[in-house]
């Protein structure tokens, strides 16, 4: 591996579905000679483009998992991280955006800036990823790159700079005029592999001159050298212009726009040139890790390879040869035979094979230096794990993983599926920390839980596709809870005399609500009213009672139990008797303590074009949501609300339909709050009916 980090680009290609992202990637790989044939998404040849390695993605024509692939162009090494454009796979998106240093925002010359473009653009802004824009599909009828540039300015508020003009459009699209070199560029050969430079056609000369002046003017904002040259009327060189624009891009204050047609093999090579000339190398980007020894305070990493290693496993894949871990090294180097530490588990790991990936194929390498992306074989870890050299305690991601908010039961259809489901779940739970699976002890059902409906749907679909596991599912379920709202006393005598050893125990005290704790047990017994050896049994009796609330059989939380009196019998008292007494005492006190049902409340944040603000608020209001506020961000508004989880089912579909797919939302658990009486009554009625049916 060449070691000049200035020639490395870690880029993502972000786009709306169907704007030709995968085709563009395919062409890039072809021109950089990583592949030798071209396929298309939903290809008629049944092979499919190389980057979409998952069957499901091929079928739906979308990219779910992010594969990293490596290629070279003009002495530069480019790692392309295929980023999912879909909103619902947030953790995937977040991980892949973290490892990018720059991105190409692909837009369709016909459809322009669409909802998804807005979404991916928001994501790039959130992760501060600098980008260049590529207006694709200029060969299509209705193509209008000018309009797209206008939309980039107006809808996405980009400070765009036109880098090329089209030579012809739609069916007549022949090539582009490069405004830096002032040459016309054509793409000859069957696959556009021969780049031919010519003089600018006469009818475009004036327009090219005008646009070039604008280009220089914009570039000069970021380069003193260029400004001086203009003022002193010296010669303005291509290098000066490029340097100015590059600075603007790195500062994320300028978006150069390129044009072409990936499908017709036009405009790809100049775009690759732009990637190498304009997008930042790892040195230009500040990366931060969190110091575990110092309350996760951010620490800036250096790209030097002789510093201790800090690396992030951003993606796992289960291949035919075992687990493949995609990794980005931020500091130091990761070499074959090294011993590294997984920060999350604290375990030492010996590095075996180190490879460089090209979608589905791989190549062995010796080491991955800082700034590079590669993959490891046979390393046991979860995605999002950080790896470091022994002795340091930095992590690339916070240890915080949100708790799943929605769950459903899955039922395999047959034996074969059952075996495959467990394999699939093992892999998915490892890949995605927000996806969890467990067996419900009571019903024996396999429960999966995650961050949203679609999140779970995708995994069910993947079980079917990748593991041939057919499953049926239960409707999604919300985790309700019970708690008490006031203090209540209990005093219970458990007495049984039915021949043989008797049972006797008396437990007295009170229950009271407690905040921020699930269960607190306090022993205030004096003078041995309950002998010390039975106190633990009392505690156990109370604690077990919390598992299934007397009211609705939901988990009980937020209770402080204080015992202050009791009685025992020298022969008939036992652990069992005290446990039984505690259980009954709990029920006695609980009934008096005004128990209520609580439901999970989610913090829901919707980002919507301002035009739809009212409609979005209405959707939240209809779902028993309390709107905390709305934030006006120019073309976009952010609405924050607290909504019960039980009301959020089907929200993504609802939101999409009222906003024409242009809004997105995130949802995280906030707190538990008391269920309104009418809804609690309904819930109780349903439970009673269910019980009756079972009986």
């Amino acid at each position: 591996m060449k070691k000049d980090i200035r020639n490395v680009r870690n880029i993502g290609i972000s786009a709306h579905i169907d704007s030709g992202k995968t085709t563009l990637t395919e062409r890039i790989l072809y021109y950089t000679q990583r592949i030798h044939t071209m396929h298309d998404v939903k290809g008629k040849d049944g092979v499919g483009a190389t980057m979409d390695s998952m069957e499901l993605e091929k079928e739906r024509g979308i990219t779910i998992a992010s594969a990293a692939t490596y290629c070279e162009w003009q002495g530069h090494e480019i790692n392309i991280i295929d980023t999912p454009g879909h909103v619902d796979f947030t953790i995937e998106v977040e991980r892949s955006l973290r490892v990018l240093d720059g991105a190409i925002l692909v837009l369709c010359a016909v459809a322009g800036v669409q909802s998804q473009s807005i979404t991916v653009d928001q994501q790039m802004k959130r992760y501060k990823v600098p980008g260049i824009a590529f207006v694709n599909k200029c060969d299509r009828s209705g193509a209008n790159p000018d309009r797209v540039v206008r939309q980039l300015k107006e809808k996405l508020e980009h400070n765009t700079v036109t880098m090329q003009l089209p030579i012809g459009l739609e069916a007549d699209f022949e090539g582009v005029v490069d405004l830096v070199s002032m040459k016309a560029i054509y793409f000859d050969g069957d696959k556009g592999e021969q780049v031919r430079q010519e003089e600018i056609p006469s009818d475009l000369r004036q327009a090219a001159q005008d646009h070039r002046e604008m280009l220089i003017d914009q570039a000069s904002m970021f380069s003193n050298e260029l400004t001086e040259a203009i003022l002193e009327e010296k010669k303005v060189t291509a290098e000066m212009i490029i340097a100015g624009i590059r600075q603007g891009v790195v500062e994320r204050r300028l978006t150069p726009v390129f044009i072409g047609s990936a499908y017709k093999n036009k405009g790809i090579q100049p775009l690759l040139d732009a990637v190498t000339r304009l997008l930042p190398c790892p040195l230009n980007v500040d990366n931060q890790a969190l110091d575990m020894n110092n309350e996760e305070q951010p620490v800036v990493l250096s790209n030097e390879i002789d510093k201790p290693l800090v690396a992030l496993a951003f993606k796992l894949e289960d291949g035919p040869y075992g687990q493949l871990t995609y990794i980005r090294v931020y500091q130091g180097a990761l070499a074959k035979g090294d011993t590294i530490i997984n920060v999350r588990t604290g375990k030492k790991v010996k590095v075996g094979r180190v490879i460089r990936m090209h979608a589905d194929q791989m190549e062995d390498i010796e080491s991955i230096p800082a700034g590079y992306i590669g993959a490891l074989f046979g390393v046991d870890c979860a995605s999002g794990d950080s790896f470091v050299a022994p002795g340091i305690s930095l992590t690339m991601t916070s240890m915080y993983v949100p708790e799943p908010v929605i769950s459903l039961a899955i039922f395999p259809k047959d034996n074969k599926s059952e075996v495959n489901v467990s394999k699939a779940l093992r892999r998915f739970t490892k890949e995605d920390p927000t996806f969890k699976a467990y067996v419900n002890e009571e019903t024996g059902d396999t429960i999966i839980s995650g961050m949203g409906e679609l999140h779970l749907e995708v995994y069910i679909e993947r079980m079917r596709r990748e593991y041939q596991a057919e499953v049926t599912t239960s409707p999604p379920r919300v985790a309700y809870r019970e708690t008490i709202t006031q203090k209540a006393e209990f005093d219970y005598i458990h007495k049984k005399q039915t021949g043989g050893a008797g049972q006797f125990a008396r437990v007295a005290g009170y229950l009271e609500p407690v905040q921020d704790e699930d269960f607190v047990f306090e022993n205030q017994i004096v003078r041995g009213a309950i002998p010390t050896q039975f106190i633990a049994a009392c505690e156990k009796g109370f604690k077990n009672s919390m598992q299934k609330g007397p009211k609705m059989e939901f988990l009980v939380t937020g209770i402080r139990v204080v015992i202050n009196d009791g009685a025992s019998h020298s022969v008939d008292s036992s652990d069992m008797a005290f446990q039984a007494a505690a259980r009954s005492a709990f029920r006695q006190g609980y009934a008096k303590a005004k128990p209520v049902i609580q439901e999970p409340i989610m913090k829901v944040v919707v980002e919507t074009p301002t035009d739809f603000q009212g409609a979005v608020m209405s959707t939240l209001n209809q779902r028993r949501g309390m709107i905390v506020g709305s934030q006006d961000e120019g073309p976009f508004s952010v609405i924050e609300a607290q909504v019960p989880l039980s009301e959020m089912f089907g929200y993504s579909t609802n939101l999409r339909s009222v906003t024409k797919g242009r809004a997105q939302f995130t949802m995280e658990f906030l707190t538990y709050k008391q269920l309104p009486q009418s809804i609690a009554d309904e819930l109780m009625k349903k439970a009673a009916e269910k019980k009756k049916n079972v009986a």
Binding site: T485, Q486, Q515, Q588, A591, K592, K594, Q613, G614, M617, S618, N621, M626, I627, V628, G629, S630, Q631, D632, E633, G634, V638, E640, K673
Partner: protein, 261 residues
């Protein structure tokens, strides 16, 4: 045979039913108690709101003296009386404004040793709605559009509006006139923060430069003036401005209006 259902209930159940009322009464008593303790009453404002529907109030001070904290207390006071407050901020994001409320509420809860603060907070929160705008993105027609959305859809009908961070520059006159119109139509009163500057000359009677042109629109103006280590709350216009009422203080440590009783 079924008898009167009441007779089938155990003593414990009957007791529980009674206690519901006591608990709810507790929360409402707590609210009343806090309302009664509201130190602003000492400025001569007897109960309820200082302003009537359609009226404007200004809280004037230099940067960092405590305008927002002061207005958040006014807002919380309304919320405790189950009156809806729309808080508009042109400086801070929703998250930060929420934090202001939570902070001020917690300080009040600590000051008056309220045990059921979490429950109380849950009951006052639905009476607040936060809207934030970028300064340059704020306009009265836009606000009116949003407000209509909220009211028509039955999401939120404000009783009072707080506008924090509106620049009182040359362009403000028209905005204020439009707002006055809107407030009168909707029967709401509006509080503004007005940031004053040390170097600016004040007008007749000490009116801060920002207010000179628009003073007529304001029924009440309150000034926060640092005096030594204290912050004095001076009635500048409206009740108490003739020196007939005692001045109040803001505790610089908690930013709460001091209860000097």
């Amino acid at each position: 045979m079924l008898l009167n259902p009441e007779l089938n209930k155990t003593n414990a159940e009957l007791l529980t039913e009674n206690i519901i009322y006591i608990k709810e009464r507790n929360i409402s008593m707590l609210k009343n108690e806090l309302v009664l303790k509201n130190p602003l009453r000492r400025m001569g404002y007897q109960s309820d709101d200082i302003l009537k529907g359609g009226e404007f109030g200004a809280v004037m001070a230099r940067a960092g003296v405590g305008k927002t904290a002061f207005l958040v207390q006014l807002a919380l006071n309304s919320m405790l009386r189950e009156k809806n407050v729309l808080h508009i901020s042109l400086n801070d994001p929703v998250k930060k404004v929420s934090l202001w409320y939570k902070e001020v509420f917690n300080r009040i809860a600590t000051q008056y040793a309220i045990h059921q603060s979490a429950q109380l907070w849950d009951t006052v929160l639905p009476h607040r709605f936060i809207m934030t705008f970028r300064v340059e993105g704020f306009s009265v027609p836009k606000l009116e559009e949003r407000l209509t959305d909220l009211i028509e859809q039955n999401i939120f009908k404000p009783h009072a509006i707080i506008i924090d961070g509106l620049p009182f520059d040359d362009a403000v006159n028209q905005d204020l006139a439009d707002l006055k119109n809107l407030a009168s139509r909707q029967g709401m009163h509006v509080w503004f923060t007005v940031r004053t500057h040390r170097h600016e000359e004040s007008g007749p009677g000490g009116t801060p430069a920002q207010l000179i042109q628009v003073a007529d629109l304001f029924e009440v103006a309150i000034q926060l003036v640092p005096v030594g280590k204290q912050i004095q709350i001076k009635a500048f216009k409206g009740l108490g401005s003739q020196g007939d009422q005692p001045d109040l203080m803001l505790d610089p440590a908690t930013m709460l209006i001091q209860d000097q009783a």
